[in-house]
C-alpha cells in the first residue's frame, strides 16, 4: 500500500493566501510516500511546505510558477504503475480529454495527472486513467466558474489503485473514491 498525494494549482499568493486549514490539518508529515504536484504553487514557501509533508516531491511547471526550472512533463514509476505528470496549459484545448489521452499515449503511462482547469476529474479511457486533482486552495480560474478546494490521494496496491478525492464544499470536507484496476504489468492496456 503506497500513498501518493496529488495536488496542484494552489496559486499562493496570487489567488489564495494559503491551503484551507481543514486540509492542512489532514496533511500530516510521514503518512504519505510520494507527492506529485501539477504546478502553479507558485512560491518557494509552498514548495518547502510540501517537502515537509513528504520529501519525495515531484513537480512540473505551471505558467505562474516562480521557479522556471521545473520540467514541462515528468514520468515516474510507483509500484506497478507508470505515472505521468504535466500541468496542462500546454495541451490545447485545455481540459479536452482526447487531447490529454494523446499526451498519455505519448508519455506511455498508466495514469496521467494534470491540472490547470481547477476542476477535479478522473476519467478512464482506452489508454489509461487521467486524473485532475483540481485546485488545492479553490483558486480563481478563468476556465472553471465554480471552484471548490480539492486534492487527491491515491492508494496504489499491486495492480489496483484507489483514488480518493477530498473536496471542501461549504466548509465541510467530502470524500469520494474511485477504483481502477490495471490488467497486467507488461503493457498499459486496460
Amino acid at each position: 500500500m503506497v500513498l501518493v498525494l496529488a495536488l496542484g494549482d494552489l496559486h499562493v499568493p496570487h489567488r489564495a493566501a494559503d491551503l484551507p486549514p481543514k486540509f492542512k490539518s489532514m496533511l500530516v508529515p510521514g503518512k504519505i510516500q510520494h507527492i506529485i504536484c501539477t504546478g502553479n504553487l507558485c512560491i518557494k514557501e509552498i514548495h518547502d511546505y510540501l517537502k515537509t509533508i513528504c520529501p519525495d516531491l515531484h513537480i512540473v511547471r505551471g505558467e505562474f510558477d516562480e521557479d522556471a526550472r521545473y520540467p514541462e512533463t515528468k514520468t515516474l514509476t510507483i509500484g506497478q504503475f507508470k505515472l505521468g505528470l504535466c500541468h496542462g496549459h500546454q495541451v490545447i484545448p485545455w481540459g479536452d480529454l482526447d487531447s490529454l489521452a494523446m499526451l498519455q499515449r505519448q508519455l506511455d503511462v498508466d495514469i496521467l495527472v494534470t491540472g490547470h482547469t481547477h476542476q477535479f476529474t478522473a476519467y478512464k479511457h482506452e489508454g489509461g486513467v487521467v486524473i485532475n486533482p483540481g485546485s488545492a486552495t479553490g483558486a480563481y480560474s478563468s476556465i472553471n466558474q465554480d471552484v471548490n478546494p480539492s486534492f487527491v490521494l491515491m492508494d496504489i496496491d499491486g495492480l489496483r489503485v484507489v483514488v480518493y478525492v477530498y473536496e471542501l464544499i461549504d466548509g465541510e470536507v467530502k470524500v469520494d473514491k474511485i477504483d481502477f484496476k490495471k490488467a497486467s504489468t507488461s503493457t498499459s492496456a486496460p
Partner: protein, 764 residues
C-alpha cells in the same frame, strides 16, 4: 552552664549564661558567622527557658527572676536574658503580654550596634512570635488587644529597620559592595517582622488601611535607603493579601512615587500589577472592585509620575513599565479597549518627548507592547480601532517597523481574519506601510524582501466583502497603496489585486441584473478599465511574461461578460507584449500556448476580430516563427483547435483546421530533413505521430475535410520514416507512442457502431 542546670543552681546558671552570651558582644564576625554563633546561643537559651519555666527547679517566682537578670553586667547578655525571662513571664500569665512586650521592645533600644542589635531584636521577634496578644490566643487582652500586638511588632520592625540601614554607613565607601552583601544576608531578619504582621489574627482591612500600612510605609520612605526600600516594598506586596492591596492601592502607589530614584520601581510596580492581574483572573467576581477602586487609573497615574520624576530612567525602563501596565489592562479589563488605548497614548507621549528611539532593548519592549493586543484579541480588527496604535509604530525604526508589520500580517493569517471595509483596510495598510513602500527614501533590500512581499500578497487575499460596492472600494484603496511601492514590489503585489478584481467581476456577472448603467458604482466594465490601467503599470518594471498572463486572464473574463471591445483590447495588449518584449524561445513557446489556449475558449469575438487575432497566432503569425522547428510544428497544430470549438454553436471550420495540420506536417518534414542533413540520421517520428493523433481527433469529431486516405497515408509515412534509418536501426523511443496510437485506433474500430464505421476503411 549545663552542669549548673542539672544542679538546679540558679545563681550558677545565670552566671554561666551571661558568660556565654558575652560571646555575642563581638564585633569581629561577618554576619554569616555571627548568625552561626547566634544560633548556637539560641539553642542554649531554649534550655535555659525550660529551666526557668519550672519554678520548682530554682525556687524563684518569675517576677523576681525578671528583676534578678537585670543585674547582669553587660547590656547585651542582660537583654538576651531579659527576653528569655520575659517569655517565661508571659507564658506564666502573671502579667499581661502587652505590658511585658512593651517593656522589652523599649529596653532593646539600649543596644545600638547594628548587627548586634539586629540579632537581639530578631531574638525578641522569635520568642514573642507565639505570645502576641492576638485574637484567639491565650494571651488575648482587652478590646485593644490586636492593636497592642500590632503596635509591638511595628515598633520592633521600625527599630530593626533603622539598625539594618545603619549597616550601610558603618565603613568607608569603598566597602560598599561588601556591605551590600552583608545586608542581603540579613534582610530576612527584617522581613520576618512583616510576615508576623501579616499573620496576626484580628488584623482586618480597616486596621491595615488606617494603621499598619501607613506606619510601615512611613518607615520605608523615611529611611531613605534604596536597598531597604526595594526589599521592603517587595515584602509588603508578597506578604499581605491581594484584596488589601487593591483597597490600599492609592497609598501604596503614593509610596512608590516617593522612593529613592535609585530604587528599581519598575520591578516593584510590575510585581504589584502581576499579583493583581492573577487575583483578577483567578476570581472574576472581584472585577467590580477593581472598577470601583479605579485600579487602572491609579496605576496609570502612578506610572506616569514615576516616569516623570525619575528623569534618569532610560527609555527602556519606561517602555517596560508600559508593557506591564498594558498586560495588566489586558488581563483584568480585556473589554476596555479605551484602557489599552490610554496606555499606548502615554507611550506615544513619552516617545515623542525624547530623541529618536535607537536603543534595541527599548525597541524590543515596544514590539512587545504592540504584540500584546494582537495576541490577546486574536482579531486584527480590534487592534485597528486603537487610535494610538499607528502612532506608536511611527516611533519604531525601519527594520523594527517592518518586523511589526510582519507580525500583524502573521496574526491575520493565523486567525484567518477577514478585513471587510475600506476604512479598516486603509488603517491596516497605513500600519504596514513599512512593507508597502520605502520609508524615508531608504531602499531597504534585505534577504527577507521576497518573503515580506509575498506576505503582503497573501494578505490581499484576506480582504473581502460580499457587497460589490464596498469590495470595489477596498480594491481601490489597496491599489492606491500598492502603487507607492516602486517597481521592485509590483510583480509581487499586483497579481493578487488583479485576481481580487476578477473575482469581483465574476460575482457581479453571476448576480445578473442591469450591468450597463453608467451611474452604477461597480460594474464589470469599470473594473476592466481599472484592471487595464493596473496591468499597464507592470510595464515599468518590466515583467512582460507576467503582464501577458494577466492580460489573457482579463480577456477571458471580459469574454464571459460579453464585453467584446474590452476582450479585444486585452488581447491586443498581450500580442504587443509578445511581439515586442518576449524574446526568449522557451518563454515564447509557453506564451503561444497561453494565447492559443485562451483564444480557443473565447466566444465573444465577431468574425472580424476573430479573423484579425487568429492568424497572428497561427500560420503566418507567431507559431510559425518560433525558433526551433519542433516548437513551430507543435504550436501550429495546436492552433488547429482555434478553428474547431466543440460547443453547440462553436466554430467548426474543418478546412482551416486541416490547413494547420498540413502546415505542421510540412514543418515536421522539414525538421526531418534538417536532422538528416546535419546529423546524418533521421530525427524521431514523434512529431509525425502527434500530427497523426490530431488527424484522428478531427476525423472522429466529424470533420468532412479529413478522409480515411489522409490518415492511411500518414500511417504509411510514419512506417517509412521508422524504417529508413541510415544505420538500419529501428528507433525504439517513438515506437510506444505509435504503437499505442495504432492500438487506440484498433480499439475504436472494434467498438462497432458509428465509430467502428469510421475506422472500417483504415487498414491497421
Amino acid at each position: 552552664m549545663h552542669r549548673a542546670l542539672d544542679a538546679n543552681n540558679l545563681r550558677e546558671v545565670l552566671k554561666y549564661s551571661a558568660l556565654m552570651l558575652s560571646e555575642l558582644r563581638t564585633s569581629k564576625l561577618s554576619p554569616q558567622k555571627y548568625y552561626d554563633l547566634y544560633m548556637r546561643a539560641f539553642d542554649q537559651l531554649r534550655q535555659l527557658e525550660i529551666f526557668l519555666r519550672d519554678e520548682s527547679r530554682h525556687g524563684l517566682p518569675v517576677v523576681d527572676l525578671y528583676e534578678l537578670v537585670q543585674h547582669a553586667g553587660n547590656i547585651l547578655p542582660r537583654m538576651y536574658l531579659l527576653c528569655t525571662v520575659g517569655s517565661v513571664y508571659i507564658k506564666s500569665k502573671q502579667a499581661p503580654s502587652k505590658d511585658v512586650l512593651k517593656d522589652l521592645v523599649e529596653m532593646c533600644r539600649g543596644v545600638q550596634h547594628p548587627i548586634r542589635g539586629l540579632f537581639l531584636r530578631s531574638y525578641l521577634t522569635q520568642v514573642s512570635r507565639d505570645k502576641l496578644p492576638e485574637i484567639g490566643s491565650d494571651y488575648q487582652g482587652d478590646a485593644n488587644t490586636v492593636m497592642d500586638a500590632v503596635e509591638f511588632v511595628l515598633q520592633n520592625f521600625t527599630e530593626i529597620n533603622k539598625l539594618w540601614v545603619r549597616i550601610q554607613h558603618q565603613g568607608p565607601g569603598t566597602v560598599r559592595e561588601k556591605q551590600e552583601k552583608e545586608r542581603n544576608e540579613l534582610r530576612d531578619l527584617v522581613g520576618k517582622n512583616l510576615h508576623v504582621l501579616g499573620q496576626i489574627e484580628g488584623v482586618h482591612l480597616e486596621m491595615y488601611k488606617e494603621t499598619v500600612l501607613p506606619r510601615i510605609l512611613e518607615q520605608v520612605v523615611n529611611c531613605k535607603d534604596d536597598f531597604a526600600q526595594y526589599y521592603l516594598m517587595e515584602c509588603i506586596i508578597q506578604v499581605f493579601p491581594d484584596e488589601y492591596h487593591l483597597q490600599t492601592l492609592e497609598t501604596l502607589l503614593a509610596a512608590c512615587t516617593q522612593l529613592m530614584p535609585t530604587v528599581d520601581t519598575k520591578i516593584v510596580l510590575t510585581q504589584l500589577m502581576d499579583r493583581l492581574s492573577n487575583y483578577a483572573v483567578s476570581s472574576p467576581d472581584v472585577l467590580h472592585e477593581f472598577l470601583q477602586v479605579e485600579a487602572f487609573a491609579k496605576l496609570n497615574n502612578a506610572i506616569g509620575k514615576v516616569i516623570d520624576t525619575q528623569i534618569e530612567m532610560p527609555i527602556v525602563g519606561a517602555m517596560t513599565l508600559f508593557v506591564s501596565l498594558l498586560t495588566f489592562a489586558l488581563r483584568v479589563h480585556p473589554d476596555r479597549l479605551d484602557y489599552v488605548d490610554q496606555v499606548l497614548g502615554a507611550c506615544v507621549v513619552k516617545l515623542s518627548s525624547g530623541p529618536k528611539l535607537e536603543d534595541a532593548r527599548a525597541m524590543k519592549q515596544v514590539v512587545a507592547l504592540l504584540s500584546a493586543p494582537l495576541e490577546k484579541y486574536n482579531d486584527i480588527v480590534t487592534a485597528l480601532t486603537l487610535s494610538n496604535y499607528p502612532r506608536v509604530m511611527d516611533h519604531l525604526d525601519d527594520g523594527t517597523n517592518k518586523l511589526m508589520a510582519m507580525l500583524i500580517i502573521q496574526s491575520i493569517m493565523k486567525n484567518n481574519s477577514c478585513i471587510s471595509t475600506a476604512d479598516k483596510v486603509e488603517v491596516l495598510f497605513e500600519l504596514i506601510k513599512g512593507l508597502i513602500k520605502d520609508l524615508d527614501g531608504n531602499a531597504y533590500r534585505g534577504e527577507d524582501f521576497q518573503e515580506e512581499q509575498n506576505s503582503v500578497a497573501r494578505l490581499i487575499n484576506m480582504l473581502d466583502n460580499e457587497e460589490p460596492e464596498e469590495m470595489l472600494k477596498i480594491i481601490c484603496v489597496v491599489r492606491k497603496h500598492l502603487m507607492t511601492g516602486g517597481t521592485r514590489r509590483l510583480p509581487f503585489t499586483i497579481p493578487p489585486l488583479i485576481f481580487s478584481a476578477l473575482r469581483l467581476v465574476r460575482q457581479l456577472e453571476s448576480q445578473g441584473g442591469d450591468m450597463t448603467g453608467e451611474d452604477l458604482p461597480a460594474t464589470p466594465r469599470k473594473i476592466f478599465q481599472i484592471l487595464n490601467q493596473t496591468i499597464e503599470v507592470l510595464s515599468s518594471v518590466p515583467c512582460p511574461e507576467l503582464a501577458l498572463r494577466l492580460y489573457l486572464q482579463c480577456a477571458e473574463a471580459a469574454s464571459d461578460c460579453d464585453l467584446e471591445p474590452a476582450a479585444y483590447e486585452f488581447f491586443t495588449q498581450a500580442f504587443i507584449l509578445y511581439e515586442e518584449e518576449i524574446a526568449d524561445s522557451k518563454a515564447q513557446v509557453t506564451a503561444i500556448h497561453l494565447i492559443a489556449g485562451t483564444l480557443q475558449r473565447i466566444n465573444v469575438f465577431g468574425v472580424e476580430n476573430r479573423d484579425t487575432l487568429t492568424p497572428k497566432a497561427t500560420g503566418g503569425g507567431y507559431s510559425a516563427r518560433l525558433l526551433k522547428k519542433p516548437d513551430q510544428c507543435r504550436a501550429v497544430y495546436a492552433c488547429s483547435h482555434l478553428f474547431w470549438v466543440d460547443d453547440l454553436d462553436g466554430i467548426k471550420d474543418g478546412e482551416r483546421a486541416l490547413l494547420c495540420l498540413r502546415r505542421a506536417l510540412r514543418i515536421a518534414n522539414a525538421a526531418q530533413q534538417m536532422a538528416n542533413a546535419t546529423r546524418g540520421s533521421s530525427g524521431s517520428v514523434t512529431l509525425f505521430v502527434e500530427i497523426l493523433n490530431k488527424y484522428i481527433y478531427f476525423y472522429e469529431k466529424g470533420s468532412p475535410h479529413i478522409t480515411p486516405s489522409d490518415i492511411q497515408s500518414l500511417i504509411e509515412l510514419i512506417n517509412t520514416e521508422m524504417q529508413s534509418d541510415n544505420n538500419g536501426n529501428t528507433r525504439t523511443h517513438s515506437d510506444p507512442f505509435f504503437t499505442s496510437t495504432l492500438r487506440y485506433m484498433r480499439f475504436q474500430k472494434q467498438k462497432g457502431g458509428l465509430m467502428g464505421d469510421k475506422y472500417e476503411l483504415i487498414k491497421l
